[in-house]
């Protein structure tokens, strides 16, 4: 169970995240940006679509960190933490993938009228989500809690190791319409400084939102475990 001090810290961070993200949302719509053909107002998706992936990566790091902890200490609470961080990571990954599809449909594929064209970046991102999907399936295959925690931890560390390759290294070496591919710079010189002022706070805000959702789920799982001896949520 969470101590009173931990609960207080949770409420404080939650409230800061709520205010922070509200400011980001408002600024994301209000602040004028350069008008670029094809992109037009969809350039504002930089504040919302891209932080989904940053948040997903941060969440997988948290998850892997706790999985390492499971192997070191056999702590079941860290198994709960690894599982819930991975769950929220996948939620952000799905949001990143679907927002990316919508964005691509009306920019890359605006004349072609297609939603999915196996662009390497998108395909590898989808593969990444499937790798995490297997983690949840694997957990259901083992009944004994400590054994399940250890087996899942080993797989989860493998899954986290694939993240930088599938989301960063491999897509950069292939031809893709997505920024950050061969001959297509991601961000550096081509982004207006005004957009960075909103983009970086957006990343921090969404990672904070991950922390809130993750902590809420961990607390719920702990209560469930206390009542039913089964922490799976």
């Amino acid at each position: 169970m969470y101590t009173e001090r931990q609960k207080k810290r949770y409420r404080l961070i939650r409230n800061v995240v709520i205010v922070w993200l509200t400011v980001v949302l408002v600024a994301g719509f209000m602040v004028a940006i350069p008008r670029i053909s094809i992109l037009e107002h969809t350039a504002r998706n930089l504040y919302f679509h891209v932080p989904m992936w940053f948040t997903m990566m941060a969440a997988t790091l948290v998850s892997a960190w706790h999985s390492i902890g499971v192997l070191r200490t056999d702590s079941l609470i860290r198994d709960i933490r690894a599982l819930q961080a991975a769950r929220v990571a996948v939620v952000f990954g799905i949001l990143g993938l679907t927002t990316g599809m919508l964005w691509a449909r009306f920019t890359w594929y605006v004349e072609a009228d297609i939603w999915w064209n196996f662009d390497p970046r998108q395909t590898l991102a989808a593969l990444q989500l499937l790798i995490y999907g297997a983690y949840f399936v694997l957990r259901t295959a083992v009944d004994e809690p400590l054994r399940r925690a250890r087996v899942a931890a080993v797989y989860n560390i493998f899954a986290a190791v694939t993240v930088p390759f599938l989301l960063y290294v491999l897509p950069r070496q292939q031809e893709s319409l997505h920024p950050g591919a061969d001959g297509n710079p991601a961000f550096s010189e081509i982004t207006d400084p005004v957009m960075r002022l909103i983009f970086y706070p957006a990343i921090i805000g969404f990672i904070g939102l991950f922390w809130v959702l993750y902590t809420q789920r961990v607390r719920t799982a702990i209560v469930k475990h206390r009542l039913t001896s089964d922490p799976e949520l």
Partner: protein, 106 residues
């Protein structure tokens, strides 16, 4: 850049002439210029292709989600209190001490 400057920059932008692009069945969309905007609020909402109406919709959804988050938190906190009061102290999630040391010695 502060926000009022951002709004001012919007209001200063010229309304694009869309009459030439209009397709059959379109009503011609001429941006805020042709709307007889009365109040300041209405002027802002109609400016910049009515982008701020979308902001309003997004904020309503966001506030709804926040309310859900806060209500869930309150219920969780009260559930935690109930469990703590009714179920004895032993902590089933504490790391096992004997089993883990067994494991390290083959």
């Amino acid at each position: 850049m502060n926000l009022p400057t951002g709004i001012a920059m919007y209001l200063l932008q010229e309304a694009p002439d869309r009459a030439a692009e209009a397709a059959p069945y379109d009503s011609i969309w001429t941006d805020a210029g042709s709307n007889a905007a009365s109040g300041a609020f209405e002027q802002v909402m109609l400016s910049n292709d009515k982008l701020f109406v979308v902001l309003g919709v997004v904020l309503i959804i966001w506030i709804g989600l926040i309310v859900l988050l806060l209500r869930t938190d309150r219920r969780l906190a009260s559930l935690e209190r109930t469990v703590e009061e009714n179920i004895p102290e032993e902590d089933p999630l504490a790391p096992p001490t004997e089993t883990s040391s067994d494991r390290t010695t083959p």
